[in-house]
Symmetry: C2
Subunit: 338 residues, 2 copies
DNA sequence: TTGTAGGCGTTATCAA
DNA sequence: TTGATAACGCCTACAA
């Protein structure tokens, strides 16, 4: 690999001049700068990252950490898109992304991740709602620039979807369609986004003067099609049966629809279903799922931008960024049949 | 951050002794080694990656590159799992994973990726069948250890599923069920895995004495539920209509089933459908999808292991690793009705 | 078995 | 505006 000395020799200047020229130091004459840059280009010179990092203490690398509970979460299209979009934005900003998955149970919440201890990263993105608070606190204390996405913690920058409003507008829409008995298929309520969706659901009911009835909220442990089917079965045991179901996410909603169809219930004629997320599949489903869109790509790029901003300007107070949500009306909802 | 000098001071030895002790140099007395390691542990010492890389020329980091065509591919559960499992294995082996997505069109096939030029990585995984040959060649010429996954190129280590056999056993199974008119819902045939699946399909037909009829192969541009629905519609225009369809992957198969159900065709009673991949959704679908399992996790970990092996032993001839496939019989297939 | 000194490639400091 | 020199943290001859 060609280094700064090689260029210096060719240009008959000192290595330091080369370094300055390449870094656009204003004290270098336009002429030498041009000459040096030209030579560097010809020689396909690329600065050695390790050497540079050693002295600047900047790696130009951002860590992206996610927790692995069940396999489905890892392959979760939600985080895949956030990951994709964060890396895309980071690339634009001149950063690389170091990707790490921590197997659940193997996490020591008192120990910062290796990538941090080895000084491989300039900042860290923590994705997902199930990061232990203690772990976040451990990392925060190291002083490394940090942003959470789809999670919230005091004293730490957080990027979240507007889950409350999302669930709220979805529920409100169902109410406007004439539905009175609206169920909520929930997931783990210790996940902040799930909890907020539940809140939004209850808020809309309350505002419409419909009393919240816990019988119509079922809490599943995971957010999959499978648990959606299960949730439907539980909810369907109620008397009277719900005429509409808001699901905590899309996969569950799809499971609900499938299970309903299985026992001969027509969606949306006999049962309206709304999801939250707007995953790719949802629009392709039959019926196409009415859902609340989460702007996943935007969440990813905003997270990345915020982190870089915090690296460049460390003395900012922590902020919470709420990305709006949007109701996408498709075919799984209909006015209440009299 | 605490460094080797701090430890040296505390232990009243020279920095080199510390370095040797921590790297288990046999020339260090057991006693000093123990003492030094103890101090290092107490001080939470972690070697600075940049400094070490500068001298050893090893970054202990592997690049994982994927091409972005359409959004769905990026979030593709297939590559998500390979990525997850590769990172998992690399972690075990003491490596980090640098994740890069190249936006299609922004790729310069004559230029090695930045992570390579900046010497940020010790080896590179190239995932996906749509990496341009020229790009692979460019990278290969740099001499960096390289492994392809779900792709093949001469002179480069490649890890692939046994697609031919997978499609073959699936087709054979349909034949055994009595089906005579078996269609193939294909995707882009320049993707090696799709092409091989097509081959396996034809091979099984041929062996059974069923003449391959191009009318019963439809080629879609993408491998999604949506194109699956489209493929079904095309295939259904044939006369006679197929009684079974092998799909190039699972999402397409799900689309096929949905579309068939939409027009009142019962699966599997009137139409058998087999997918390939075994994505999570497939088992949760109604009917649960009969499919060919691709061992995605194994492919990821094998890819990682092979790459590290090649780094440690560079002078090996290139190899092609074929990971077997397995027919998973579920509910979307049935014997031909007379 | 341990210490000294040099060097990896780059940037930063100080002098010219 | 440029050059010489030191420094970042670690590893590794060579010397002791």
């Amino acid at each position: 690999m060609v280094n700064i000395k090689d260029i210096a020799k060719k240009a008959r200047v000192s290595p330091s001049t080369v370094s300055r020229a390449l870094n656009d130091d204003p004290k270098i004459s336009e002429e030498t700068r041009k000459k040096i840059k030209e030579i560097a280009r010809k020689l396909k010179y690329k600065p050695n990252q390790a050497a540079r990092a050693l002295i600047t203490r900047e790696t130009k690398t951002i860590g992206f950490l996610i927790l692995k509970k069940e396999k489905p979460l890892v392959a979760d299209p939600f985080y895949s898109i956030i990951l994709y979009s964060a890396q895309n934005e980071l690339h634009e900003l001149g950063y690389h992304l170091l990707y790490g998955i921590i197997p659940h149970g193997k996490l020591n919440p008192q120990k910062p991740p290796r990538m941090l201890q080895e000084e491989r990263i300039d900042g860290l993105i923590l994705a997902g709602p199930d990061m232990p608070k203690e772990f976040i606190e451990t990392i925060r204390k190291t002083g490394v620039p940090l942003v959470l996405v789809d999670n919230y913690s005091e004293n730490v920058d957080s990027v979240l979807a507007d889950n409350i409003r999302g669930a709220y507008i979805a529920t409100k829409y169902l109410i406007e369609l004439g539905h009175k008995i609206i169920a909520f298929a929930s997931g783990p309520l210790d996940h902040i986004s799930v909890y907020e969706r539940w809140e939004g659901y209850k808020k809309a009911l309350e505002e419409a003067g419909i009393k919240y009835n816990p019988e119509y909220t079922v809490k599943e442990k995971e957010l999959t099609m499978k648990t959606g089917r299960h949730a439907f079965q539980i909810l369907w045991e109620n008397d009277p049966k719900p005429t509409a179901i808001l699901s905590a996410n899309d996969p569950m909603a799809l499971g609900i629809i499938q299970c309903a169809k299985d026992i001969g219930i027509k969606v949306p004629e006999e049962l309206s279903v709304i999801g939250i997320d707007d995953i790719d599949l949802s629009s392709q489903f039959d019926p196409p799922l009415t859902t609340v869109r989460i702007f996943k790509e935007e969440m990813g790029s905003i997270t990345a931008k915020r982190l870089i901003d915090r690296i460049k300007n460390p003395n900012q107070p922590p902020i919470k960024i709420i990305v709006s949500t949007e109701l996408i009306i498709r075919g799984s909802t209909a006015p209440l049949r009299k």
